[in-house]
Amino acid sequence: MVFKKTFSILATATLAVGLLAGCSGGNKDQNASNGGSGGSSGSNVIKIATQTPLSGGSATLGESIKLGAQLALEEQQANFEKLGFKLELVPYDDQGDPKKGVANAQLIGADKQIFGVVGHLNSGVAIPSSEIYEKYSIPMVSPANTATDVTDRGLKTVNRICARDDFQGPAGAKFAIEKLGAKKIFIIQDKTAYGSGLAEAFKKGAEDLGAQVVGFEGITVGEKDFNGVLNQVLAKKPDLVYFGGLYTEGGQLIKQARDKGITVPIMGGDGLDSSTLVQIAGDAVKNVYMTSAAGLTTATDAGKQFAEKYKQKFGKDIESYSAYGYDSMGVLLKGIENAIKENGNKLPSRQQVAEGVRKVQEYEGVVTKVSFDEKGDNKYAKIYIYKFDEAKYPAKLEDEVSKQ
């Protein structure tokens, strides 16, 4: 008798738990597909994911990419509504960690409504994650990955709109040696995939042009005291100091270098391209040069409009990567639009979208023109060289180097 009673209670309890699981599962399903009033109305939703670091050391850059992409997506929503599709943004945080990037990539692959990814910031995260995107045929357009390995593997879904390290480094070296007359160069890098790769490329370019590299030292990301390395610079007395790394360390390095009395020009890569560099380094930023893959956003009218809209919507000033993110999303959406039209205005498959994105040619973005070559690199990727004459961002445009 007692047995029967407890049994029935327990049976009901188990069923309740199971129903709850099923119910919330159904709910999750609804939420995920955003079907609204249930049913399979999720078939007209196109989601684009962004995967950038939103927490941790490079969060400002990751955030700016996400916001730029968000702006681009929201501008195109009306356009896609006319074609009968609803656009949505799904931001992911890869925390700059390859494991998280891969795990998120699996989640992205699992969500059948996601048709493209704008990301990543760190090449070390992009490389393993892109292997997963390739398996699911989801196109990835990278606003910021400069390592050569990203596209050198010949994957069909990996594209980038920024210049590669092996183009940016030598371009910087050429400017330093020819225009600034540097014969002895001291190179500092931050020992990450980005900083190392860029510094190596610059070193090779400099040596090819006959300059002497008097030092090649590394610093650690997250440190604030660079006096040790700078003491070495003082001892070697170079004509130019090159830094491969991001603005957090770069700003401190520049400030401490000037404090020590190092007055020679300091040059860096696109990792320095941020208003925070000026904020950190202050007046020390004078006589600092920078190569970047982003043109002066505010030089063109389209760029100025973009900066205005960004400021209005998010309350923050643009970073250079905001424009990259904006253009990456723009290219991705163009590719999707082409794929839709080719598919007779019906929802295309991921494969078709990936092909459509790779076929994008002559896309006019806010900061760069985009045409993908067979590896997914941007044929129109230009390198711009900036100089900081005063403690103001953006800097003055000195020179442009194109691929041809």
Binding site: S55, G56, G57, A59, T60, K191, G215, F216, E217, G218, I219, T220, G222, E223, K224, D225, N227, G228, V229, N231, Q232, L234, A235, T248, G251, Q252, K255, D259, K260, G261, T276, Q279, I280, G282, G315, K316
Partner: protein
């Protein structure tokens, strides 16, 4: 090769001292808490970071109010130091009350987990507040002591190069020395200091001797955290820009310094901190020269840890640690 090393020696010494002073005071916080509670307070690095942020926030408010130009910089700094120390001291006391006291009788490693949890919590909290107010979690404070002072070391010995030093260095060093001497005096010459040493030696017997153990522990946390917070302000003044993640790495190095000096030993912690600062600076400046290019400056952390390991192999209690006789 030796000549090259000697050229930069004065500069390396000065930079190393500056760095070492910061490590030393943070190490003090670690060692004091360990001495009393046998607990590695992982959250101490974050308290240091919070102090830096609080100090910078106050400085920014002052400069917004226009007070900075009207007061001599030293007075501003002292004011900020006092306010920040008190605030971080209270924060440290609060953390002890909430998270460590309930676990005083639990297995020791559980407090490690709590400390790690608090460390994560503080990091994200500070980041979130800074981002809300500032749009960016990297904060740059106003420039206070910027004058470059040259030291003609070449007049001492001709092989030395001239060194140049920022005036903030003297401030940092000065304040650090004052704090260390005060702490030493407090621990060794006052009644409360004696109570702290008693509780560190044997908690139950101290309680039997009418020492209020809870109050002493709270006081230890207050002092340790206050010192950590003050160092944070000094750090912010020295380097100008701070972000929520400085506490982690610095805390690690300071903890290494505390262990090197013999954990639980206050003078050892000070010595260990300065030693690690000097070693790191020396390695960063000279490793490529000494190793003929095989090892670069990025090995400086390895160098510091290697020295620690070697010291511990030969003297497992640290340089000044007491050899505890273990009885079964």
């Amino acid at each position: 090769m030796i000549e090259q090393v000697l050229h930069t020696l004065p500069q390396v010494l000065i930079d190393g001292l500056a760095l070492g002073a910061v490590y030393a005071i943070v190490a003090l916080g670690y060692t004091m808490v360990y001495g009393i509670l046998e607990l590695i307070n992982f959250a101490h690095g974050e308290i240091f970071m919070t102090g830096a942020f609080v100090g910078t926030a106050i400085l920014l408010t002052f400069s917004g109010l226009g007070w900075i130009t009207s007061m001599p910089a030293i007075i501003t700094l002292v004011l900020v130091l006092i306010v920040t120390s008190v605030l971080t001291g209270l924060l440290g006391m609060g953390i002890e009350r909430v998270a460590y006291r309930p676990l005083r009788n639990a297995p020791k490693l559980i407090t490690l987990i709590t400390a790690i949890g608090i460390s994560f919590l503080l990091q994200d909290l500070v980041r979130f507040i800074t981002e809300l107010k500032n749009g960016n979690y990297i904060l740059t404070g106003p420039n206070l002591f910027n004058k470059q002072i040259g030291i003609e070391a070449s007049s001492i010995l001709s092989v030395f190069n001239d060194a140049s030093v920022k005036s903030s260095f003297f401030i940092v060093l000065g304040v650090a020395i004052v704090m260390m001497i005060t702490l030493d005096f407090f621990v060794n010459r006052t009644k409360w200091g004696m109570a702290m040493r008693a509780v560190a030696q044997d908690r139950e017997t101290a309680a039997l001797m009418t020492v209020n153990v809870n109050k002493v522990i709270a006081l230890t946390f207050f002092i340790g955290s206050a010192l950590g917070g003050a160092t944070g302000v000094l750090f912010a003044v020295q380097y100008g820009t701070i972000d929520p993640y400085i506490g982690f790495i610095l805390g690690l190095k300071a903890f290494t310094a505390a262990v090197l000096g013999g954990i639980g030993n206050i003078r050892g912690a000070m010595f260990g901190g300065i030693l690690i600062g000097l070693l790191e600076m020396f390695a960063a400046a000279n490793l490529p020269i000494v190793s003929h290019g095989v090892l670069g400056a990025e090995y400086k952390d390895v160098f510091a840890f290697a020295i620690l390991i070697i010291v511990l192999i030969f003297k497992p209690e640290g340089l000044f640690g007491k050899v505890t006789v273990e009885k079964v």
